[in-house]
Symmetry: C2
Subunit: 352 residues, 2 copies
């Protein structure tokens, strides 16, 4: 069975009994009930994902940075040339990019996966070669890729998740690289949330009004062309990207392994929408690392009913926002594991 | 010279040239300009504080947890009995409280300071005894403490900051413990921001409507009684708390040592308002760890023009929100220190 289908067949719902046990435990810890706010919610969800309480600390963690190129770049949606995707992959391998710095800071591994970079990439221990094709076709002219290519890319992501889980990784972080990839992300978000292109199309790496207007038109026409596509995998093939498809597979692979999946920004948001459209149960395994300033990111989070752990106006991608959020998630687990209870500490409870 | 006066005499403005150098460096790093949002701003401010770029990573870090009791508890402003302050100090010493768990998680030391706990506390290596008095007087009846006691408490905080700086600590985090201390905090915030008691008085550890109405009346009358007090130290004495005064001294001590001071929640917000009222220059050394759900916290942050690094609906205090934010601040420094530039990585810049 292909890795993706195998993963999808194994995803079950999070464990409600473990969540309830975590809620009860929170109320016995030496703090006013509920006073750790959304950190408590995160701890409860980690228990539901693991199936027991206290939950394992989400550590070691790994960022899967999936890279791909985009034929839609020909429409002028980004000021950055396509070669930058490959150059940044080299930068990830050398350890000089933002995601390397922040991943090292929080103790997460970085695994770079070439799922569809246009150029050739020299071999590197940090780089996995899983090129499905050399960049997508221009989604403004026709489908970005074939259905078979979309499935292959889903497999690439699911395979990485399964391999990481098998080698003991306890938390998956999503990362991405692909010049032009906010355009297919906006298209997928519009198609899957029902929002207008104008609402979900942002400035990506920072584009001017003219280029933005072009981008909105490209997204509008892509969404309209995909209007009668109901199958999420076909939607990926029609208006998606190779790294987005791989990320959707990564998300479902993480859920299959009962691991928390910490999403980065707007590209991850698009991938998570696709993953939950394929398999709604995987939503229970997702955490939003941060809220990107890209408007599509907020639309995706709203649709996924996720609140971000960090909100610092980031819009870089690569997995940087997920890395910054990892210590928060780990802290949520340690609160449940390590705090004293009222009884054990001899602390008097409130008098109502 | 008393520790506080000595510290206050040494506080200078942050270094604008180092900040400008950091901005220029950010624009050379391999990422779209400005794409790390407020993480970039934090890095710029760390350079301004240190006086050079890249800035030192704010590490090692220490949480100063100042503990004191409050005579105003007699008014029924909290459902927790006064003895819980001492019990929680014992819990901090034993390592079982939330601040212990989160400080250990982020690699920060916890130093507990008894600046005004009512009861006797057994000696412990983690506890510094600097009791100025056994809890404040009831601020609903008269001044919470004398001017001399307020100055002594300021000294306690400034002394701890100076000692930590001398032993190599590179980041100060604020923490607090004191049953009833959201009441004097709300009073100080109302007095120093000009907001109404109703706007800045919250539910603290979680009180019902009836108790909250009592608390609002207590805050209103305290603020009205302090109406003609213009000297911030006299304000502390009139409607403050011993741990709040110590925290104000800690803030100014940190600024004097040119260290970043990472504020926790509403108690820290009140202390920071007092500190900046005494010495406006210390504002440049402050970072808001998080936004407490206490309404006074937001009022204080607005007045201080600080945006929180974390916003997770916490309302525990102890320093927990500051601990959760520490990895973000450290990440901001590492971005400036460790990322590759466009030149060094051979990455093409955008074509505008």
């Amino acid at each position: 069975m292909p890795a993706f289908d195998e993963a999808a067949s194994r995803v079950g719902p999070p464990d409600a009994a473990a969540a309830e046990e975590a809620r009860r435990r929170h109320d016995r810890l030496t703090k006013p009930a509920g006073s750790l706010g959304r950190l408590e919610d995160a701890g409860v969800r980690l228990c539901a994902i693991a199936g027991f309480c206290p939950p394992p600390v989400p550590q070691p963690a790994a960022v899967g940075v999936f890279a791909g190129d985009h034929g839609v770049l020909a429409e002028g949606v980004s000021p950055w040339p396509q070669e930058v995707t490959a150059q940044m992959v080299a930068n990830f391998c050398a350890g000089g990019a933002a995601v390397n710095v922040l991943a090292a800071h929080v103790g997460a591994d970085v695994i770079v996966v070439d799922v569809g970079v246009a150029g050739d990439l020299p071999a590197h221990p940090r780089l996995r070669s899983a090129k499905v094709r050399r960049g997508t076709a221009n989604l403004a002219d026709g489908p970005a890729m074939t259905l078979s290519e979309a499935r292959q890319a889903l497999d690439v992501g699911a395979q990485l998740a399964a391999g990481l889980a098998e080698s003991g990784t306890r938390c998956l972080l999503t990362g991405d690289m692909g010049i032009g990839n906010t355009t297919p992300s906006a298209a997928l978000i519009a198609a899957l949330t029902g929002r207008a292109a104008l609402e979900v199309t942002g400035r990506g790496t920072g584009i001017d009004d003219e280029r933005w207007a072009v981008k909105v038109r490209v997204v509008e026409s892509a969404v309209s062309r995909a209007g009668d596509v109901t199958d999420p995998v076909e939607l990926l093939a029609t208006i998606g990207g190779l790294e987005i498809a791989a990320l959707a597979g990564f998300v479902i692979g993480g859920a299959a392994a009962r691991l928390p999946v910490l999403l980065d920004g707007v590209i991850a948001g698009a991938a998570a929408l696709v993953a939950t459209a394929i398999l709604p149960e995987c939503a229970g395994y997702l955490f939003a690392g941060h809220r990107s300033t890209e408007p599509g990111a907020t639309a995706a989070l709203d649709h996924l009913e996720l609140k971000p752990l960090i909100d610092l106006d980031l819009r870089l991608g690569e997995g940087t926002g997920a890395c910054l959020a990892l210590p928060v998630l780990q802290g949520a687990a340690k609160i449940l594991r390590d705090m004293a209870t009222f009884e054990s500490a001899g602390v008097t409870e409130d008098h109502g």
